[in-house]
């Protein structure tokens, strides 16, 4: 459990780092580190398939997409306000104190709904119990592909 808590602290640390670092490339790499730690946390929580997806897709593919975008846009010229970065630690500490004091009592008031026990293997759950999710995933992937094709089509933009 101690290792799990350390991993969770690492996840929060790298997520905060990803938001506060000014260099976008370093921010994307910190986000990938956070995904890697989250994948290890999933492995330790008896969820190997979610861990594999988290590490391979989120830490791998999405980081590559971020880096490609940063390279194509040269990071942009947006200047972050200094107050946002300086105010963050104060808000963060205040939120952690409120979180530690209030969250458990709040969550205990939420009634726990009885859920159906799902047995079998991950294949059975994914392909039989959640077939509708898979169909929707296929639709979303096609929507994404067509949207990217439409956004990058050649000769369609007459303004330029």
């Amino acid at each position: 459990m101690v290792l799990q808590i350390l991993l969770l602290f690492g996840l929060v640390f790298f997520s905060v780092l990803a938001i506060l670092i000014k260099d976008l490339l370093k921010a994307a790499i910190s986000l990938a580190f956070a995904s890697l730690l989250l994948g290890i946390i999933f492995f330790r929580m008896n969820s190997p398939y979610a861990g594999v997806f988290e590490i391979s897709v989120v830490a791998g593919l999405i980081t590559v997409l971020f880096m490609l975008t940063i390279a194509l846009t040269k990071g942009g010229d947006a200047v972050e306000s200094k107050t946002a970065s300086f105010a963050f630690p104060a808000f963060f500490v205040i939120f952690i104190i409120i979180d530690a004091l209030v969250m458990k009592k709040l969550l205990q008031k939420v009634p726990a709904l009885p859920g159906p026990e799902v047995g079998g293997t991950i294949g059975q759950v994914l392909w039989k119990a959640r077939t509708l999710d898979l169909v929707c995933q296929i639709a979303i992937i096609f929507a994404g592909v067509f949207a990217v094709l439409a956004l990058f089509r050649k000769g369609g933009n007459k303004d330029e």
Binding site: A18, F42, E54, L65, A78, E80, S81
Partner: protein, 102 residues
């Protein structure tokens, strides 16, 4: 729900706060999507932790896998939009986007 679940929910809340702060305070469009990524991590952690606490980790895993696939599509389309915005305006500042006319 056991104490471990509350511990996970504590970290989920901290991650959610970090992501929402990024969405509210930052100006760079790519930074905003990094914030959305952080919120996504919080959501997946919440799903798996709840699945583990309710002894139903298989359903939680399938939900997380679905979420990750949707997130990839979302990020691909959003980054394509960001590249197009940069080509048009030569800027990634959200404040300048609000000033666009016509």
């Amino acid at each position: 729900m056991n104490n471990t679940w509350f511990l996970y929910m504590f970290f989920v809340a901290v991650l959610l706060f970090t992501g929402i702060y990024c969405l509210l305070a930052m100006r760079n469009l790519i930074k905003l999507f990094i914030g959305i990524g952080v919120i996504g991590k919080a959501v997946s952690l919440a799903l798996i932790a709840t699945g583990l606490a309710k002894n139903n980790v298989l359903a939680a895993q399938s939900l997380v896998i679905t979420y990750i696939v949707v997130e990839v599509s979302l990020v691909a389309v959003a980054l394509a939009l960001i590249i197009n915005i940069y080509r048009k305006t030569k800027s990634l500042d959200v404040r300048k986007l609000a000033k666009l006319k016509g």
